[in-house]
């Protein structure tokens, strides 16, 4: 099972919402669609969900058009809370499960399982509107996956969740991935994306800035993030060749290098002064990469 989006374009009267988008999301992996507001993430999701027809391009599922995939095999978590406020949590989940073709009997067991997993068992009979934002988000998530979809689309699943609940959600997403669900999700939170996704697509104003494995994106820039702790002054570090930028955070210096090759001479220069408490060289974080890509596209 693979979702292949090829040359996907959606234009509205006066603007191009999605412009020649290409990506592949495979079984057993989590695919991240990343972009600022208005980048075209939701429009892309809507085309996969068959809510909007593409202007051109194709969306294929296991070699066939996505339309061949039964709607009951798709799970969708919209960006905003899509729940009935006056409905009890359990009824809500039963409704959404039945809407995707499952029977009451089958659902009961799964509802128990998921409510327990998300620590919502005591809220089973509560009206949805009485739940906290985070709990509502968890109910929403259960509603999107209660029917065991083969393709799960999550639009900003982490919004409104505290770190503990975000952790629960991550675990759930990973276990679904292991069971073979193809998962696509969008997020502003790059740390979540970095942690969960293997492949991503960076979107800006409908255009894909990058599509592929995160590690490939990182390799484009190389390991240019250098963190140093030792008896050095900022001035001293700044004078080293290849240092583009320097920031100080407590006793740590974060150096941005012009290229990965600069690291070795810097190490040698610093080692002359004796013991180095910390010297770590890393790739740019996804957040930094994203900012660079977006800024690069603006230029």
């Amino acid at each position: 099972m693979t979702l292949i989006v090829a040359h996907l374009t959606k234009s509205f009267q006066n603007f191009l919402a999605v412009d020649n988008l290409n990506f592949i999301a495979e079984q057993g992996e989590i695919f991240g669609l990343i972009g600022q507001n208005g980048a075209g993430k939701t429009t892309t999701f809507r085309m996969i969900l068959n809510l909007l027809a593409p202007s051109s391009g194709t969306i294929n599922w296991s070699g066939q058009s996505i339309h061949a995939l039964e709607r009951d095999q798709i799970g969708y978590l919209p960006e905003e809370r899509g729940l009935y406020p006056k409905m009890k949590v359990e009824d809500q989940l039963l409704f959404f499960g039945r809407l995707r073709g499952r029977s009451n009997h089958e659902l009961k067991h799964d509802i128990d399982h998921w409510l327990e997993r998300f620590e919502l068992t005591d809220k089973r009979r509560s009206l949805t509107e009485t739940l906290s934002k985070g709990n509502q988000q968890k109910v929403q998530l259960i509603a999107s996956l209660i029917h065991k979809p083969r393709l799960l689309i999550l639009d900003e699943p982490f919004s409104g969740l505290d770190p503990v609940n975000a952790g629960l959600l991550k675990e759930a997403i990973i276990s679904l991935k292991q069971k073979g669900t193809v998962i696509i999700f969008s997020s502003h939170r790059m740390d979540h994306v970095e942690e969960l996704c293997d492949h991503i697509c960076l979107l800006k104003k409908g255009k894909s800035l990058f599509s592929g494995a995160i590690i490939d994106l990182k390799k484009q820039y190389g390991k240019i993030n250098l963190t140093v702790r030792g008896p050095y002054s900022e001035k001293e570090l700044r004078s080293l060749p290849g240092v583009v930028e320097i920031t100080r955070k407590k006793d740590l210096f974060r150096l941005r290098l012009s290229s990965e090759e600069e690291a070795r001479p810097i190490f040698q220069a610093l080692a002359k002064d004796g013991f180095i408490e910390r010297f770590s060289l890393d790739y740019l974080s996804l957040e930094e990469l994203f900012k660079r890509k977006v800024a690069g596209a603006d230029e």
């Binding site: 509205f12 009267q13 809510l51 969708y76 905003e80 809370r81 409704f95 073709g101």
Partner: protein
């Protein structure tokens, strides 16, 4: 089909369980109960002691006082006392009023009512009516007719027999038939008006809320927009019919049980005065009106962005409904005006006006059929049209005029 049933029953049962539905149904039932118990209730408030006492000082030297008949509200007594003494009794509150009758120069009756306090309107009218009758009888009496002749004049009534000579035209209805149909048509118009007014906003709010909360996206991504639209329309219609059935059923039970079935007889007399054709048309117009307005409500609900905007979007439709209703009211006094003829073909008002024309005027039935067809075609047209942009409209959150939104929605639906 399964998903339609799921969505339909969810829409129906959710709304059935809302407090507002239960409360309005209960209030309407209490209203009905009060209506049927009105004679009893009004008795509680107007006790026997409140009967108005009017003394008649008859100075006509004729038995004029005998023309006045006491009722539950007013008791007339003939007084032998001179009227200034009787006036004192009125001032002391022993009598409520003094009616002085005398003879005018031209032989008619002169009546003067002296009371301590101003009278209530109903009593005033009652006395005026009695004085008018007494005057007529008094004048006749002055003509020295015998009692048989008097009876004949008083009880004279004539029925105008009508025959329509042109064979192609519909057979003329009697004025009694027309009057019955007018009353029933007015009731039909009122029911349509009230029901549409309340259910229009119910369906619009439901759809607007689903759109606003993005539930719509989940629903239409798991089934088709048509199924969603139809499930909401029929869910609401069924809810309306449920309330209607509860009210009609209770009204009939009440009519049978209270006042020894007096109202039951009245209702069956009223219904007996209707032709089967009229009844069928009235029911069809009623059902189609509900369908049309529910569909309009659904479309409007899909076009607004937030539930709060529903009221504003509803304005033009409410206006249309009001126009129809007020024209229907104007038809109570004269159902043959040009205005009524025109609006009886306009699909949005036809259902409130056409039944009145069918029952209360002598028009050919093909006209009713034409109007019904126009209404039906409008519904089909609106349905087909709304399907073209429903999918898009539930995904647009842009602001702007409805025309702009519809255009955008059609664009999105492609």
């Amino acid at each position: 089909m399964n998903k339609f049933i799921l969505l339909f029953s969810q829409s129906y049962t959710n709304k059935l369980k809302t407090k507002s539905f239960l409360l309005t149904t209960l209030l309407l039932l209490v209203g009905l109960l009060c209506l049927f118990m009105w004679p009893t209730i009004s008795n509680w408030f107007s006790s026997e002691g409140k009967q108005l006492k009017i003394a008649i000082s008859d100075q006509t030297h004729s038995r004029t006082a005998a023309y006045f008949h006491s009722t539950n509200q007013i008791r007339f007594t003939s007084s032998a006392l001179p009227y200034n003494q009787e006036e004192q009794r009125v001032l002391k509150g022993k009598e409520d009023g003094l009616l002085i009758l005398s003879r005018k120069q031209d032989g008619s009756l002169k009546a003067e009512l002296r009371t301590q306090k101003p009278l209530e309107l109903t009593n005033q009218k009652n006395i005026e009516e009695q004085v008018r009758t007494a005057n007529r009888l008094f004048t006749i009496e002055q003509l020295n007719l015998n009692s048989e002749q008097v009876q004949k004049i008083m009880n004279q009534e004539i029925d105008l027999q009508q025959t329509v000579l042109s064979k192609n035209d519909a057979s003329g209805k009697s004025s009694a038939q027309k009057a019955t149909a007018t009353i029933v048509s007015y009731a039909v118009a009122l029911i349509i008006y009230l029901f549409v007014l309340s259910y229009l906003s119910i369906i619009s709010s439901e759809i607007a809320a689903e759109k606003d909360s993005r539930i719509m996206e989940i629903i239409i991504s798991s089934t088709s927009p048509i199924v969603h639209l139809l499930s909401r329309v029929f869910g609401t219609l069924f809810l309306a019919m449920t309330q209607f059935a509860i009210l009609i059923g209770s009204a009939l039970i009440m009519a049978r049980s209270f006042h020894n079935g007096k109202y039951w007889t009245q209702i069956s007399d009223l219904m007996g005065g209707l032709t089967p054709g009229y009844t069928v048309y009235a029911i069809l117009f009623f059902l189609l009106a509900c369908l049309l307005y529910t569909l309009v409500g659904a479309v409007l609900g899909s076009l607004v962005n937030k539930v709060q905007d529903v009221g504003q979007a509803m304005m033009p439709v409410t206006m249309m409904l009001m126009i129809g209703f007020f024209i229907a009211i104007s038809g109570m006094s004269n159902p043959d005006t040009l205005l009524i003829k025109i609006f009886s073909y306009v699909p949005f008002t036809a259902s409130m006006i056409m039944p009145m024309r069918i029952g209360a005027t002598d028009m050919a039935l093909w006209q009713a059929f034409l109007s019904l067809m126009l209404l039906f075609i409008t519904i089909i047209g609106l349905f087909v049209f709304s399907l073209r942009f429903y999918r898009g409209s539930v995904l647009t959150y842009a602001s702007g005029s409805f025309i702009k939104k519809i255009k955008q929605a059609i664009q999105l639906s492609k």
